[in-house]
Amino acid sequence: MSNVSTRKRGLPNPLQWIGAAVIGLFAEIGRLSVFAARVKFAALTPRWYLGQVWRQMVNIGFYSLPVVGMSAVFIGAALALNIYEGGSRYGAEQFVPSIVVLGITRELGATITGLMLAGRVSAGISAEIGAMRVTEQIDALETLSASPYRYLYAPRFLAAIIALPLLVLIADVIGIMGGWLVSVYALDFDSTTYLRNTIDFVTNEDIIVGLIKAVVFGAVIAIMGCYQGHRSEAGATGVGRAATLSMVGAAVLVLAANYLMSTLFVEIGL
């Protein structure tokens, strides 16, 4: 009897809890999907606010260069060291340049850029939009006949899907140079041979794979940032929570999308 009353008052029935969580998850996926569809529609149909797109490209692309560059150089360097260490067990040290370029272009350049921007850009977008919501700036936009989907969200979406591939290209080059630096100055590789092996091994498809991933990551990062900001609750706690949720959500979705796309590309032989 006492167990039943305790359950009724405080502890939820485990089945109820699981049921509520599953329903909540599907409801959230539904809301996010509708929001993403509205953002994409706004991005692909006029009216466009090109000044806003340019401003966001500078913010998302240009200001992310230092963090993307620093991350890429260290990832490339560490990758070269680890491949050398593993390869030397089988006398396969000569494969360092090819595996570094393959790993960077197909996988790490895009993934590291995606993860860094999930932190820097997605959280920033949600904090900015969340603050605009709680200070009634989004309501003000609507009263001035400017849709927040067109004026705020679509420019961020467009800027992210344009800027991410450019950043990934830069990350690819810097990551490969990180591997080259370690290989030449710490592992005694010949510079010309290393670069020749890199150029000979990499294919256009490898680079395209990374760029396709970058476009998808850009969409994920912008939509998660805008969605969490749009749904932000009042107060500093609400805005902080929105920033955290967008960063974590974007990072997880970037990794999940990366796996799904890698599987697809392997299946179709890209």
Partner: protein, 254 residues
């Protein structure tokens, strides 16, 4: 009688199981200044957001100059909103834009006016709210709260609207600045010939700017009449509110 500029017909709004508006009926004639009084949590802001089309009522109809606000979409809604101004409680200025860009926002972003012409009009409008060109290139964070309210007022009148909503226009301002804002509201509404709907719990402001006053209590309009008889309304709820007494039928929101 001419078509009212704004008419709320049995408007209800619920959030989950909580019913905030329980059937609001209200009419505002062209050129009239109506002040809606009400305590904290009485549903004033929700009523205003429904009237503006920022929220959709659970039931009832809202008419703007004979057009149904709740059914307006796309270009119709855009045209309707071009005829409505709004001064938000917080000012709601865009903090990434300068003062003049805030004032000329609609001209720049919606009407696609050239920057030079939009700035000229923004400076003219700023002059109407007693702000000089020296503040035009500052950002909202660089000016005082009273100035932000004036900038917000300038933004709400630049497109010469037929109806202006004022959400707590004097909240957070000292009495002198508040009185100056009231004067500006009166002057601009009079000059434009626009109707005004203000929501406030500041009685000094209400007495100064209202032709008519309505009292919202627990989601319903419980009194509506001319501003000059507010002290003799014959309604105990209105009496308690007007005299700011803790004792009476309205329970303090604490």
């Amino acid at each position: 009688m001419s078509t009212p500029i704004l008419k709320l017909d049995n408007v209800k709004k619920s959030f989950g199981s909580k019913e905030v508006l329980k059937g609001v009926d209200l009419e505002v004639q062209k050129g009239e200044s109506l002040v809606v009084l009400g305590g904290s949590g009485s549903g004033k802001s929700v009523m205003l957001k429904n009237a503006l089309g920022l929220m959709t009522p659970t039931a009832g109809t809202i008419w703007f100059d004979g057009q149904d606000v709740t059914k307006a979409t796309g270009r119709t809604r855009e045209k309707m909103r071009a005829r409505i101004g709004m001064l938000f409680q917080s000012g709601a200025l865009f903090d990434s834009l300068t003062v003049w860009e805030n004032v000329g926002f609609r001209l720049l972003q919606v009407d696609k006016m050239r920057r030079k012409d939009a700035k000229e009009q923004a400076l003219e409008t700023l002059k109407k709210v007693r702000l000089g060109p020296d503040v035009a290139d500052l950002y909202p964070a660089e000016i005082s709260g009273g100035m932000q309210k004036r900038v917000s007022l300038a933004r709400s009148i630049i497109s010469k609207p037929d109806l202006i909503f004022f959400d707590e226009p004097t909240t957070g301002l000292d009495p002198i600045t508040a009185d100056a804002i009231n004067d500006l509201i009166l002057e601009q509404v009079h000059n434009l010939g626009a109707a005004a709907v203000s929501i406030t719990h500041d009685m000094a402001s209400a007495r100064k700017i209202a032709d008519n006053i309505a009292m919202l209590y627990e989601g319903k309009i419980i009194w509506h009449g001319p501003a000059d008889i507010i002290d003799n309304s014959g309604n105990e709820y209105v009496d308690q509110f007007v005299h700011g007494r803790a004792e009476g039928p309205i329970q303090p929101a604490i």
